[in-house]
Symmetry: C2
């Protein structure tokens, strides 16, 4: 007797052999995947509390969004198409200073989770401030998450005195590490150019002491790279390496301006990378050398970045852009094939976050984080190769069901836990009363 | 007394001043827009056969897809991530030779129309073969279309003898030019490197004689540019100019490998350009100098290209890519701002096709081609600037209603004329019996 059996779908397992079962079934019990098998529909299915007909759709691991700033959904589309410094200094930083507070981060994070769940993202890795105020809310949405408390050597929301930034982050990670297996605290240093060497090493030590993922934006822009060369005499990656910060529990975000030596250092350190193609495109940061990183054996996941710079949390669009951007950038249509990109959004993303023993593929023993897609819409027919459609044609609206850790969070395209109507009302009231009045 | 009044929505008119009415209403009668006005909801609306509540969504002109190969939906995702020659010679050309026939083009075109209508595209400009076999089908879907009969100096579907290619195209354009105001025939020369000078000039003359749009792929790849330089001693654009082919009724598709002189020539000729960013990215063709073309005053619309090379007919994604690609390519985040891109997808696209007197903006006297979007989903809230959301966050699934020429083709996300269930069945039967058996 199982809790749930899903059947009558094409199963993309993302297991080590990347097996696809054209007509398959999967059994889940107590939040765990118990069996994945070929099922033609002719025999009788094992008993279960519920049998879910995938209606010929695709059953696959939930998507892993490796980089977010959840509360920034509130600033979605606040300002676009501006030079980076003007965008940050005239719009984003003032909006954060004025409107980021213990109440608004909850609203923003909840909105982000609603969007991600509906779009088939089952895991996210976040970095922001005031995280202690929204970590329980995020857990309550049913999503799987790694949430990093921000560390920066400037006054920040909830951390007016930068001298306390690492202490706040350490206390946060310590307090919440026993919250649940599904939601884990982390420490997020903003970048090598906004944190001193002392801050960086102390924050990394705190993360290591507590067994937490250490996240950091690195080499996002050419200006950052040049500034680090001028100040430290080395590239951002080489600087972090010198400080002893690169190891498999360090997550390097963006990693755009890396040279061959940087790539070699990252590969040898086994630090992981999150690629955010759409944010890098919109902010005109540059094109990360992802094909070279993959060739060097670096584990690269995909991320949307915050909604202020993208402007959505759509990992399907991110896959599409990741597949197409590198092709045109190097004039080579064979780069970043659909399968490669799909792995980045699932099992490689899970590996980047240190969660591949739990999620990222559909295999017995893993947690039941999966999605069922409707492949009946005109833009998805005919279908010769499922992975091609997932990368080049599918979108968030094609996601029909989403299960995380054995719990349905979306069924028939409807949120099961979050109350979207209520949230919409709260967001509108908040915006009308604050940001909208600017 | 009007036929239809749409109210309670934000109206993006795309008129000459690009006026936005935050709370507006629009009246339609006999397929024509009669009034667009501010309407707070307090007064009584004029009488009409139907009053449609836009529920606070966006009302805007339907999108114009400036370049398609409709029947190629049947080859969606057939082969990806290959070198261009291998993709064409080993997959696309053989598939076309074997499977493109009077029956399959109808199925493929109908599928393409279903996808476009659901996604808010109200006008497309197509080039393919056997067009006489699907022009009536396309007209019957309710879409507005310019359909070009293909001309190429090789045996092609329906034109086994290339010596007759221009004659077939001329006869097609002549026969169908009185079909309806909504669907117009056109002539589509494949490219300057696959058509002789004689073919090009004869085809252009036929188009001019019949008042039809003349379409041509031009300077899509570096290889084409180099080949033309070697063969003709000039760039593809300069070659077409020498042949006298560039004028306001000529539509240049792709226009990727243009130098400063080419841009100047196109600007002076007033020929129009269709930019297909996602196809250019996926096939690794290159990045068209669109910011320079716009600066030179060239009218540039947007296109998806065929589904074999994209792999969908999603003009929202095309807008998103157009806005982001040029920013990262030139490391300038101010390029291709949301408003600019939105104009390319609506009024500029209409202008490119010579239809801006009829469509592309919501103004009294124009035909009633418009869409209503649902802006209530999590990925579209909050909303500070409608145009930002339309370019950077909206997708086909956000389209609620679509009217073309005064006729509802989509209501509440459902096709009103096309029978999708029947079409799905026919497509599946066709694929199982032919392409799927490869």
């Amino acid at each position: 007797m199982f809790d749930t059996i899903v059947y009558n779908g094409t199963i993309l397992t993302m297991d080590q052999r990347f097996s696809t079962i054209t007509k398959g079934a999967m059994a889940v019990h107590q939040g765990e995947i118990k069996q994945v098998w070929e099922y033609s529909g002719k025999s009788v299915l094992p008993e279960a509390k519920e049998h879910i007909d995938a209606q010929g759709g695709i059953i696959m691991p939930g998507l892993v969004n490796g980089h977010t700033h959840l509360p920034m959904t509130l600033f979605r589309g606040l300002a676009d198409d501006l030079p980076l410094s003007q965008w940050l200094n005239d719009h984003i930083f003032p909006a954060e200073a004025q409107h980021v507070n213990p109440k608004s981060v909850v609203l923003g994070a909840r909105l982000a989770c609603a969007e991600m769940l509906l779009g088939g993202i089952t895991t996210c890795c976040d970095g922001y401030f005031l995280v202690a105020h929204f970590i329980e809310e995020v857990a309550n949405t049913g999503i799987r998450a790694i949430l990093g408390q921000g560390v920066i050597d400037y006054p920040a929301p909830g951390v007016p005195d930068p001298a306390l930034n690492v202490t706040v982050a350490r206390n946060f990670a310590e307090k919440w590490r026993s919250l649940s297996g599904r939601v884990q605290p982390s420490i997020f240093c903003h970048s090598p150019y906004t944190c001193s060497a002392q801050t960086l090493t102390a924050a990394k030590k705190a993360a290591t002491d507590l067994g937490a993922v250490f996240q950091i934006h690195v080499a996002e822009t050419e200006a950052e790279r040049d500034q680090m060369l001028a100040r430290q005499g080395s590239t951002p990656v080489q600087y972090l390496d010198r400080l002893g910060i690169l190891d498999p529990q360090t997550l390097l975000i963006h990693a755009v301006w890396l040279d061959a030596r940087d790539i070699d250092i990252v590969a040898r350190s086994k630090a992981r990378v999150i690629h955010c193609p759409q944010s890098n495109m919109k902010l005109a940061s540059g094109v990360a050398p992802v094909p070279d990183m993959l060739a060097a054996g670096i584990c690269v996941g995909l991320g949307t970045d915050g909604s202020a710079s993208n402007n959505d949390l759509d990992l399907w669009a991110e896959m599409d852009s990741a597949a197409k951007l590198h092709k045109v950038h190097r004039l080579d249509p064979t780069l970043m094939a659909a399968d490669t990109v799909l792995h980045m959004a699932t099992i490689q993303g899970a590996r980047a976050l240190g969660l591949d023993h739990q999620i990222g593929s559909l295999e017995p023993g893993k947690r039941a984080d999966f999605i069922v897609l409707n492949m009946d819409q005109p833009h998805l027919i005919p279908m010769y190769h499922p992975s091609s459609h997932l990368v080049y044609a599918a979108g968030p609206a094609d996601v029909r069901h989403v299960m995380i850790d054995g719990q349905w969070v979306v069924q028939n395209g409807q949120l099961q836990i979050l109350d979207m109507a209520k949230l919409r009302e709260e967001i509108n009231a908040f915006i009308t009363g604050s940001i909208g009045r600017r």
